[in-house]
């Protein structure tokens, strides 16, 4: 334990000597992860609001429960098969009552008062229909109307929803791509910080090697440094998104049905994951920064003549 305390002390002392570089690395992680976390949060809001309309669903047909007046026990199954056979239909997905309840729970996960009112029995099963062409929705609506015994209500995606799900799909790709690039940049920046830290302490390192310090004893402070930088940057990112999202939370946008909700469960779950990811990215960066040093681990001189190049 005292040994770990010693290594941690060495780490912090080394970081104090290079405050600017350390701040740079933390900021890099912060910027990349807050963008990624922000994109994730935005995505979550849209996803919850358009839950039923995911994957290009154009029409939702709510169904009467089997056993209700004139609905045969196999009516749902039969209708699903029928609709699948229609020329206008690209794909159909059957969501039973349990699936509907799960969706409802996710949509109102931060509203226990609403969840209390609902239960599985009240929510109807439904067919989620994707059309080969959105212009064909009239004809499909007509055909569904003829199944009035089984079908209780038909809902067609509004233009707004269609646009939003299209935008989220684009945002998903852009967000993932951007986060990936920025994540890599953060790792590289941490690697660079570690390389500079090694350079700043090259005399100490060469003496440590000379007197027989084990390789891990030499490496651990640098790995700790990278980990701390990643951890801090990620924690800052989660905190920043939380602060930015707070005033919006619970509010209702102009579009009446669009509720901006991010539960504390979401922040907790993803926040912890992001902080862990930051730490892992930091450790990865440290190893990258140490890689050249690891190769020449035997000699007691640490690149005295060569200033490490900036990646």
């Amino acid at each position: 334990m005292s040994r770990f305390a010693y290594l941690l002390g060495e780490t912090l002392q080394g970081m104090r000597r290079n405050v600017l570089v350390v701040v740079g690395a933390v900021l890099a992680v912060f910027v990349s992860l807050s963008l990624a976390f922000g994109a994730l949060a935005f995505n979550q809001v849209v996803r919850v609001n358009t839950l039923a309309w995911q994957d290009g669903v154009h029409i939702i047909a709510f169904l009467n429960d089997p056993g209700a007046s004139g609905v045969a026990p196999d009516a749902h199954e039969r209708l699903t098969n029928d609709v699948q056979g229609w020329g206008e239909v690209e794909r159909v997905r059957y969501v039973d009552k349990a699936g509907a309840w799960a969706e409802f729970q996710e949509l109102f996960q931060d509203r226990p008062d609403i969840l209390e009112l609902g239960n599985q029995a009240q929510l109807p099963a439904s067919l989620r229909i994707e059309l080969t062409d959105i212009d064909l929705h009239d004809s499909v609506e007509l055909r569904l109307a003829q199944e009035q015994q089984t079908v209780s209500r038909v809902s067609v995606a509004s233009n707004a929803i269609q646009q939003i799900s299209q935008i989220t799909r684009v945002l998903n790709v852009v967000g993932i791509g951007l986060s990936l690039i920025l994540g890599i940049a953060a790792v590289v920046l941490i690697a660079n910080t570690i390389r500079l830290a090694i350079y700043a302490r090259r005399d100490e390192i060469s003496i440590m090697k000379l007197v027989g310090a084990s390789n891990w004893f030499i490496r651990v402070p640098f790995i700790l440094e990278g980990m701390i930088e990643g951890l801090f940057g990620a924690a800052l990112a989660v905190f920043a998104v939380w602060v930015a999202a707070r005033p919006l939370m619970g509010s209702v946008s102009q579009v009446e049905w669009f509720r901006i909700t991010l539960s504390s469960g979401f922040f907790l779950r993803w926040g912890v994951l992001f902080v862990l990811f930051g730490a892992v990215a930091g450790i990865l960066g440290s190893f990258l920064g140490l890689s050249r040093y690891l190769k020449e681990t035997e000699g007691t001189t640490t690149g005295r003549e060569t200033v490490p190049e900036l990646v």
């Binding site: 040994r3 005399d203 003496i207 007197v211 310090a213 681990t297 035997e298």
Partner: protein, 231 residues
């Protein structure tokens, strides 16, 4: 304690620094490695520390074949070998006592034991009153004493010194040699590379002379012939 068997070292550039060198050094011996600049003295020291791999041959240090030692065990080899260099290699931002303690800290020794060992070794080298000074506040000879203290604080069975008096005036060198002699009398094996004639001739110890990597002579009580031309 140290044994070299047909050791050849060729550097990447093609320079043959050591040629077929065989040498046996017993426990407690004091051996001078002499020869003009570029004759391969420092290379031998580096090979003994496994700072460089041998090209051919075998080297045993403190019972271990260093040429086949896996690299993660190299630190343990170095713990049994204290090293002293011409340029002292002290850390300028640490005090004398901290510089010496550093050698024990990085081996993970408990703090309680370190303080006592540092005091003892500073007494041995005659710097017990200067533990709080920084290296820049010391003379060259005193700085070299600190580096000897650091090399010896862990009580290694072997000490290697590469031109320890190279940066010192003759009077100061005598003091350093007395210190190394004292350490040698505690049973520590010492190998010292030097091209300082006066020192070698005054000490009357075993002399191994190199020239362009070849061993010219190996005498149990040798002198350094004055005919050598230094580069």
């Amino acid at each position: 304690m140290i044994r070299l068997q047909d050791v050849t070292k060729v550097y990447d550039g093609g320079t043959v620094a050591v040629r077929d060198l065989s040498l046996d050094i017993q426990k407690g011996e004091f051996v001078f490695l002499v020869g003009p600049s570029g004759s391969g003295k420092s290379t031998v020291i580096r090979l003994l520390l496994r700072e460089e791999p041998v090209t051919r041959g075998h080297i045993w240090v403190a019972g271990k074949d260093t040429t086949t030692l896996p690299s993660h065990k190299v630190p343990f080899l170095r713990r049994s070998v204290g090293t002293v260099f011409q340029d002292f290699k002290l850390l300028p931002n640490k005090t004398v006592a901290e510089n010496v303690a550093f050698a024990l800290e990085v081996l993970g020794r408990p703090k309680s034991a370190i303080g006592q060992q540092v005091t003892q070794v500073l007494q041995l080298v005659g710097l017990e009153n200067k533990g709080d000074r920084y290296p820049r506040q010391l003379s060259g000879g005193e700085q070299q004493r600190v580096s000897i203290a650091r090399a010896f604080v862990n009580r290694p069975p072997i000490m290697l010194a590469d031109e320890p008096s190279g940066n010192l005036d003759p009077g100061t060198s005598v003091g350093i040699m007395r210190l190394l002699d004292r350490i040698n009398r505690t049973g520590t094996t010492i190998v010292m590379a030097t091209h300082d004639h006066a020192i070698v001739n005054a000490m009357r110890r075993r002399v191994v002379q190199l020239d362009e990597g070849l061993m010219l002579r190996d005498e149990p009580v040798g002198r350094y012939e004055t005919a050598e031309v230094e580069a």
